[in-house]
Amino acid sequence: MYRYDQYDHQIVKERVAQYRDQVRRRLSDELIEDEFRILRLQNGLYLQRHAYMLRIAVPYGLLASRQVRMFAHIARKYDRGYGHFTTRQNIQFNWIKLEESPDILAELATVEMHAIQTSGNCIRNTTSDELAGVAADEIVDPRPYAELIREWSTFHPEFAYLPRKFKIAISGSEEDRAATAVHDVGLHVIKNAAGEVGFRVLVGGGMGRTPILGSVIRDFLPWQHAMSYLEAILRVYNQYGRRDNIYKARIKILVKAIGAEEFARQVETEWLDIKDGPSTLTAEELQRVAHYFTAPAYATLPAVDAEFERKKAEEKAFANWLKRNVKEHKVAGYAAVILSLKKTGVPPGDITADQLDFVADLADRYSFAELRVTHEQNLVLADVKQSELYALWQEAKTHGLATPNIGLLTDIICCPGGDFCSLANAKSIPIAQAIAERFDNIDFQHDIGDIELNISGCINACGHHHVGNIGILGVDKDGAEWYQVSLGGAQGNVSSIGKIIGPSFSAHQMPTVIDRLLQVYVKQRIEDERFIDTVRRVGVTPFKDFVYATPIKSEPTSGEDACA
């Protein structure tokens, strides 16, 4: 993975000093909160319900084991012993003291990490495919381009005070695993007929209260022009994006208002002035960065390991885990393993300090000391020998990281919600937990198969509810927490925005609502049809009719009043 050179170190070091002084000035009241808020947000520090939350950047989701150990250290020393992986492949800590936040950044800098631009109205952490470099369906490895974008966007002087936040996602595979269609800018690394590398550029996708899929404004942008073209997009947005209404300030609203064609024309006009200028990437620079993403020293292995096949045939639980949590690798004898952070009873994406240390050890022993974070809030060991999968599985189980539920009902994407976030209208974690408890039976989950259930505690859609096959949105009605359900959303190559099925439900009703939706699916599905395909074929109506056919009793969940 990428390593800092003297320049990267210098810039991050100077940032720590700058931020430390900003905190000092805030504590001595030289800065008032209104001035400081925007500064700390650009450094990922949010004020939540109970304490500050610090969001640390994990550039395009890639982590070295020593960085993960640093997270464990931070969790123990500065937090309450755990962290939370987010849908932007970052990690956040929820119990941070303002006074200690500069020290955390100084510690992070020692392992080449920071919290730069993880919040605020600036260019955020660029996200990418968690299987980059190993996926069997990869066209071009997007990681070098993601790193180039990281460097270009870090402290870009012109685009630090945009109308609203700005998110870029990049994917280089047949299957889009980076949700590029719902980003401010989505980039697909592709090859043209001549075999040259370039980008398909999508602009104006997003979620929030106006969910919309991005529009292609350029079919093929030669890779050399990535930075100048992004600069042109940002310059148009910075000048013409709305600033009068926070809910209409994202680039998607501008693109929608003037049309994708007109937006593309304005970008081209801006671009003409800077195209072929000094920002044009050189082969040397691409090579410098690409060097960090060359393949590790893979062993030459047989495509099939006999002992592995025997274990797979003998142990159903192992086979279940393989089926859901292990992905095909482009190198024979290797596989990519997804460690599930969606064990029933644990908030989705949460991980303890001990688990962090443990996965760092796993990475060292099984996967070239690297890990990846997925935007579905799980972790990936990308380079595991097939012959070692059984041993890895047994180890992962002992730490609650082998739930065989990737892509299944309980692999829920969920924001921190009302338990932590001051923006939330409603809690989201207890809903996820109630659903996970109700459908804990793994055989049932495997029977239901691929399904995406996404939960957001408010319209900001951090839990990606719009693109969940089943989306759940927390809403506030007269001070009470209610949940609106949508159906038919999807991420990936055939992205779509879900449709709301009708009036909202109470927290206690939600497990039954899900149960009814699944009953309709089971009745309607044809053979191996996935949930989303059934919804697309039969439409929302049969689901809606059945869910609302009879009143749903408000049944309190078991245990301590989780939804109170």
Binding site: D5, E14, E158, Y161, N238, L281
Partner: protein, 175 residues
Amino acid sequence: MPNLIKDKVVIDDNWTLLRLAEGETADTVSVPAGKIIVPLTVWQAQRSALQTRPELGVWLASDERPEALKDDLAAFQVIAVDFPKFADGRGYSIAYNLRARLGYGGELRAIGDVLRDQLFYMQRVGFNAFAVRADKDIHDALKGLTDFSEKYQTSWDEKNPLFRRAKRETLSARD
């Protein structure tokens, strides 16, 4: 006389900024003699009278376009860009376009909600003068110009990105 940061030092500001008061209009407001920085609208409305002045400045609001001054740049010793709130970032693109696209080479001044923690970025996009908000210590604000010693990308101040300026070593990807 208020202070101003210009070309990295604190100096006395001998220009006066004209803002339209309530009830005043661009075509009727009287522009005092001397070194005055007028709103774009006043320049546009009173151009024939103003263009004979030996010393004149103009300022752009954050929703105004630098292209509006395209043919007039030579008329001004100072062009200022207003930041109604420091979080309104339009002024950065206005400044960049004034310098890079329109080729303005004179004093480019940030006015309005101009604070220490934004000066580094402002300087990068082409501002060389900063009318720091009056309630702030301008000498303290000066420190904001030197927060960073290196930068990755081009802007007005750096014609070449880091990768064209520096020989960046390639370390081992794994250790």
